[in-house]
């Protein structure tokens, strides 16, 4: 069984063309829905039953999210989150440039199901060259073929899809910050509730889904009930792209059934670089806790197994670190990221991420003290759970996990003023 959803076109000629997409059954699901005027509730239920979870990081059940939308509301919006910026994650950029029609068809089906007549795809600003152009071309093609627009395929269904471009801000990947950004403001997350499904873009009910999530929808709709669920191995449901990066021989995006042993994924991506020993893995983007290599080897790539190992599946950005990695340097780099990307709205995050970075810089420059290590933990605890959005938590979790698993390395660095590994 070698099922692919979002990556199906990746290795074909002209992967982004409508012709290629249609040759693989593309737009069949959408045509059926439009021709039969399928029940919205049935679509939502099918997605709910499939077990599809948001593939951007939070892993929330997609169908359940859709069901929160008040169907009677007149104006509703769908937003596709293509603001891929989580360090270690580079899957959406490939879907955007190699399989854009799957995103468009997924957006159409989702818009129909929630009753939105307008949908936006928000791409990060740095995708301005390749992804922005490819996606806009695909959009134009789909408009020409009347899959989008007014009176779709000669019915009375009308849905508009627009592409939007960001201008550099990690925080805009947070769904309410994205709404602020689309409204033309600074990307500062909103307090929830109200949730976007009730009060979202321009004050109207809005569903925000990740690119990979939406690109998964057409195939789920096209196949029988239970099909998506059954792709997963063991108790896991479905399939996910893992971006393999860092010390790995064949860094790439691998779309594999959830529940696949991590050891298989490691083998698939060519094993650890230079045959070195695996030291540590960040399994779901830089925001999730680090796991020791030997513990990671015991996991399977699914939500419960990674949670049991003390981390999260997150975005599926798997960062591999071999025995030559200095964990102090890595954590220092992670702390710089959150310090630089904090929007500055909540004091614990704005100040705390700065303190974390300053202390780690001191340690790296040989000016650290053992007291600093306790301070790092303390500050992390004071940030986590005390802010409007999850960026603060994302800054805190790596700190605590790095200290927990590699305390001796930090201690060594403070005492000897040099790295334990170099």
């Amino acid at each position: 069984m070698n099922i692919k959803l979002c990556t199906e076109t990746f290795n074909l000629n002209n992967p982004a063309s409508m012709e290629t997409y249609i040759s693989l059954g593309g737009y069949e699901a959408w045509k059926k829905i439009v021709e039969r005027k399928s029940s919205k509730l049935e679509i939502i239920n099918k997605i709910k039953e499939s077990g599809l979870r948001g593939k951007g990081g939070a892993g929330f059940l997609t169908g359940l999210k859709w069901s929160f939308i008040p169907q009677q509301a007149k104006q509703k919006y769908l937003v596709c989150n293509s603001d891929e910026s989580e360090p270690g994650t580079c899957k959406d950029r490939d879907i955007l440039r190699y399989n854009p029609h799957a995103i468009i068809e997924g957006m159409l089906i989702a818009s129909y199901a929630i009753g939105a007549s307008v949908a936006y795809n928000y791409l990060r600003g740095e995708f301005l060259d390749e992804q922005w152009k490819v996606f806009n071309n695909a959009l134009e093609e789909a408009y020409k073929n009347n899959f989008i627009g007014k009176n779709i395929l000669s019915t009375n269904i009308s849905i508009e899809i627009y592409s939007l471009i960001g201008a550099g801000a990690y925080i805009v990947g947070e769904e309410t910050a994205m709404l602020e950004s689309i409204e033309g403001k600074r990307g500062m997350p909103r307090i929830k509730p109200p949730f976007p499904a009730i009060k979202g873009l321009f004050g109207k009910p809005t569903i925000i889904n990740n690119t990979e999530t939406l690109a998964s929808i057409p195939k789920i709709m096209l196949n029988n009930e239970g099909w998506y669920k059954d792709i997963g191995i063991g108790n896991s449901e479905g399939i996910k792209i893992f971006s393999m990066s860092g010390h790995i021989n064949k860094p790439n995006n691998y779309e594999i059934p959830l529940g696949t042993p991590f050891s298989n994924l490691l083998k698939l991506s060519g094993g650890v670089l230079n045959g070195n020993k695996l030291k540590a893995v960040i399994p779901g983007g830089s925001s999730v806790p680090v796991i020791k290599g030997e513990d990671m080897m015991m996991t399977t790539m699914d939500y419960p197994s990674i949670a049991k190992a003390g981390s999260m599946l997150g975005s599926g950005g798997v960062i591999i670190m071999d025995e030559t990695t200095c964990m102090v340097s890595v954590l220092h780099r992670i702390s710089r990221f959150y310090y630089s990307e904090s929007c500055g709205q909540c004091t614990p995050c704005r100040e705390g991420t700065g303190w974390l970075h300053k202390i780690l810089s001191n340690i790296l420059n040989g000016k650290g003290t053992l007291n600093n290590l306790d301070q790092l933990n303390k500050i992390a605890n004071q940030i986590e759970g005390h802010c409007i959005c999850a960026l603060g938590d994302a800054a805190a979790m790596p700190v605590r996990s790095f200290l927990k698993h590699f305390w001796h390395e930090f201690e060594y660095y403070v005492e000897k003023k040099e790295s334990m590994v170099s």
Partner: protein, 163 residues
């Protein structure tokens, strides 16, 4: 620099296309893309005069545009070199040697991150974080175009090929 900035017709056309994506009352929504368009036609940066002109054209307050221009890192509010180099040195790229690449470029161009060369040919952009090409690390963007799996040799060739 104190001359009044006039948005030309070509840019007005492009901004009007952006406006059509949003409900009529939502004038602010067009700010980000409009700033990127104007910046592209203004040697890669925006000025106070541009911000004023755009605010006037969109019928919003100057501060609304200024807020956006200063929040998003891709909008430059000071003059920069013609070619923008952005080197990713977040974790995945760092593990594959991006610090060497960045140091090499700094030495080669004799500027630090955040600076432009005196001839205004290159701008080594600051505030660069993960550029979502983790499996191509080390990588950089030159004028938004990705160059991946960099070596010092490759960097030489890329930079020498730029006018």
């Amino acid at each position: 620099m104190n001359q009044k900035y006039v948005i030309n017709d070509e840019i007005i056309n492009q901004i009007d296309r952006v406006k059509r994506k949003f409900p009529e009352m939502e004038s602010k929504s067009s700010i980000i893309e409009s700033l990127l368009i104007i910046q592209h036609h203004n040697q890669g940066f925006v000025t106070k005069e541009i911000i004023q002109a755009l605010a006037k054209y969109l019928g919003i307050k100057e501060i609304d545009v200024f807020e956006v221009a200063t929040f998003y890192t891709m909008i430059n509010i000071k003059p920069v070199g013609r070619n923008v180099i952005a080197v990713c040195n977040n974790i995945s790229c760092m593990l594959r040697g991006s610090d060497n690449i960045l140091n090499y470029i700094e030495k080669k161009l004799n500027i630090k991150v955040g600076e432009s060369t005196p001839d205004k040919k290159f701008y080594l952009k600051d505030e660069i974080e993960c550029l979502a090409a983790c499996n191509g690390g080390p990588m950089m963007q030159v004028n938004h175009k990705n160059y991946e799996n960099l070596t010092l040799n490759k960097v030489d060739k890329i930079l020498e090929g730029i006018k």
